[in-house]
């Protein structure tokens, strides 16, 4: 057990936690926005998967990571369009359509991948890394936290930008109202459907971006079904964070660390099944819920379509 506090172990753990936590963070932030606006996006997993696929294909053909991110975001957004058209505009059940999106995305992306690549899994070159000046020289932290793809720093900045937006902008308050008292928002002259549509499209973009990061940077390849529950964890994070972007980041870091722990333990020469470590964050969260047992603070109009004049 002497290998636990060595530099390679800690670097590997921190670096892995950031890499594994990024897709969760982006998806969680996206889901949070939808939930604030009153839309429960069960299809988050599907949006990530589509983003992972389109992002990978774009990066594979263009060789550009930025085009990959853009394509991933747009792919997720396109998927979110289904929610917009069917659930927000037509008021269909958000859970049914969400499951349809996830199942359909799983099927469609593996089908498209098979048609293009058959059974081969081409690999992208390693993603460009931006080591932050000065900070990169800090032992352990420098290589663990401050030597990542530029998107990582942008995502952290986004956390703070969103916090500010929810707290002190008109748009942020409109989003919140669309989830809590849509009728009041409507009475105040703001279009509920537009507000929710905007939120859902942003969710799709962020989830797709997370998927693209997962495929292009995290794995370097696209594999069918590769999100493997990341979208579901994103939903869990958003629900637990109670509307605070910073808490999504804390959660993503926790889950990311536990995902990275197995690799890090192997670096340290300890071989235990992945599953033991992967149970931990879920067990912790359940324990917290049991001990504190507070009412979950979800927007009151979550999951219900808004029709003007209907009670």
């Amino acid at each position: 057990m002497g290998g636990l506090l060595t530099e390679p172990f800690l670097v590997s753990l921190l670096y892995g936690a950031v890499t594994a936590g990024m897709p969760l963070l982006l998806a969680g932030l996206g889901e949070q926005m939808s939930e604030k606006a009153g839309v429960l996006n069960i299809g988050l997993e599907g949006m990530m998967l589509v983003g992972a696929y389109t992002g990978f294909v774009a990066a594979y053909h263009s060789g550009s990571f930025w085009l990959g991110y853009l394509a991933g975001g747009l792919g997720g957004m396109l998927t979110a369009l289904i929610v917009l058209l069917l659930c927000i505009r037509r008021g269909l059940n958000q859970i049914v359509i969400g499951i349809a999106i996830t199942v359909g995305a799983e099927g469609l992306t593996s089908l498209l991948h098979y048609v293009q690549f058959s059974r081969s899994y081409p690999r992208l070159a390693a993603a460009p890394v931006l080591a932050l000046p000065l900070l990169r020289d800090v032992p352990v932290l420098g290589r663990g936290l401050f030597s990542h793809n530029l998107l990582v720093y942008l995502a952290v900045a986004l956390v703070f930008a969103l916090s500010w937006m929810y707290r002190s902008t008109y748009l942020g308050l409109s989003l919140e109202a669309a989830g809590n008292q849509p009728a009041a928002l409507d009475a105040a002259g703001v279009d509920v459907v537009h507000t929710r549509s905007l939120a859902v499209l942003c969710t799709g973009f962020l989830a797709g971006l997370g998927g693209a990061y997962l495929a292009n940077v995290g794995a370097g390849i696209f594999v069918p079904f590769m999100t493997g529950g990341a979208g579901v964890i994103g939903i869990v994070l958003a629900m637990l964070a109670r509307g605070r972007p910073l808490m999504v980041m804390v959660g993503a870091a926790l889950f990311g660390a536990s995902l990275a722990m197995t690799t890090a333990l192997q670096v340290a020469g300890i071989d235990i099944p992945t599953d033991v470590v992967q149970m931990l964050p879920f067990a912790v969260v359940m324990a917290v819920l049991v001990v504190f047992g507070r009412h979950s603070m979800l927007p009151s109009a979550l999951g219900t379509p808004y029709t003007r004049g209907e009670r």
Partner: protein, 341 residues
């Protein structure tokens, strides 16, 4: 005028198959060839038909469990964890019991154990929901992840059969598994599953208990107002739902596999959700949809090898089916509103 029952199901199915066929066409495959191959392989050939029917057993039991939950307004999305842990429990128990007690007793005990394990795994979300109103979507999903990992931990660290290289539980001999039906390869779990799904349907629609659950599902406040013990009802619905899903796991192990390998997760829990929706929570209708889906799975897997269409195309069809079902329902509602009925 509104669309009548059979038409409301028929239209989405036809639309989904058509759009699915168009997708195949775009990808340069022959849709007619694919569909006819799938149908021939999974329904018209006796071997394939037996496989299709065998596959239905766990799907039907899970569907029964989901119908109880959904009709009671409870989103039990943790089926995968409940299913897997129950499968592991019965796989661990069966080889240990079989030497000591008769086969029938072993099988019944294992099925009970599976149901019990599924039930126990749903207790926490049930209590959190009834006591504190904590959203069960999030808790059941978390328990599902927890359960899938825990099942693997159990197999790899505790229950591992020392005689195999791949971690798996000790195997139940083929002769000791669930009895086959009338000289076919279909195991008797299918009968049990049929009984369960019909029983659940009758319970929900014909008994006082079922009525209370339906009231709870339709309007929680009304259930409180009517003086029902809402906390107890919630927990009961959860328990019954998870026990049925647990039974599905036990039946799949006792009838088909005989053991559980590490990292095995058929992920049926979420796949059955669309079927239950398509059937509008109706127990009889769900049998038809399960047959349809099961045939697609069996035929689709074989088509992956023979026609070159990956089996996951089936998922696209299910998704299209859900989307069109939603649309048809929406249009139907609009028409009814316009007609003022």
């Amino acid at each position: 005028m509104s669309l009548r029952g059979p038409l409301r199901v028929f239209v989405p199915v036809v639309l989904a198959l058509t759009v699915g066929g168009l997708i195949l066409l775009v990808l340069g495959k022959d849709p007619i060839g694919y569909y006819s191959y799938v149908m021939e392989r999974s329904l018209l050939r006796w071997g394939g038909a037996q496989e299709t029917l065998t596959r239905m057993a766990p799907l039907l039991l899970i569907a029964a469990g989901l119908i109880v939950a959904f009709r009671s307004g409870i989103w039990n999305l943790g089926g995968d964890g409940q299913f897997l842990l129950a499968a592991v429990a019965s796989a661990a128990l069966a080889p240990a019991l079989i030497g000591g007690v008769p086969r029938g007793v072993t099988l019944v005990l294992c099925m009970l154990a599976g149901s019990l394990v599924g039930l126990v795994w749903s207790l926490l979300p049930a209590v959190l929901k009834s006591r504190y109103g904590i959203n069960e979507i999030i808790t059941t999903l978390m328990m599902s992840f927890l359960g899938t990992s825990f099942a693997n931990v159990l197999i790899k660290l505790v229950l591992r059969d020392p005689g195999t290289t791949v971690p798996q539980t000790r195997s139940l001999a083929v002769d000791d598994r669930l009895p086959r039906l009338f000289g076919t390869t279909i195991h008797s779990g299918l009968l049990l599953a049929m009984l369960a799904v019909v029983g659940v349907h009758l319970m929900m629609t014909r008994t006082a208990f079922g009525l209370r659950l339906q009231v709870l599902g339709a309007n929680r406040a009304a259930a409180v107002h009517a003086g029902y013990r809402v906390e107890r009802l919630t927990i009961a619905a959860f328990a019954l739902s998870a026990a049925l899903i647990g039974l599905a796991g036990a039946v799949e192990v006792l009838g088909v596999w005989g053991s559980v390998r590490a990292d095995w997760n058929p992920a049926l829990g979420l796949l059955v959700v669309p079927l239950v929706f398509l059937a509008r929570f109706n127990g009889y209708a769900v049998i038809g949809f399960t047959l349809f889906f099961s045939a697609l799975m069996v035929g689709g897997e074989s088509a992956a090898r023979r026609v070159g269409v990956p089996q996951h195309f089936v998922l696209v069809l299910v998704a299209l089916l859900l989307l069109f079902l939603g649309l048809v329902e929406y249009l139907d509602q609009g028409r009814r509103k316009a007609a003022g009925t």
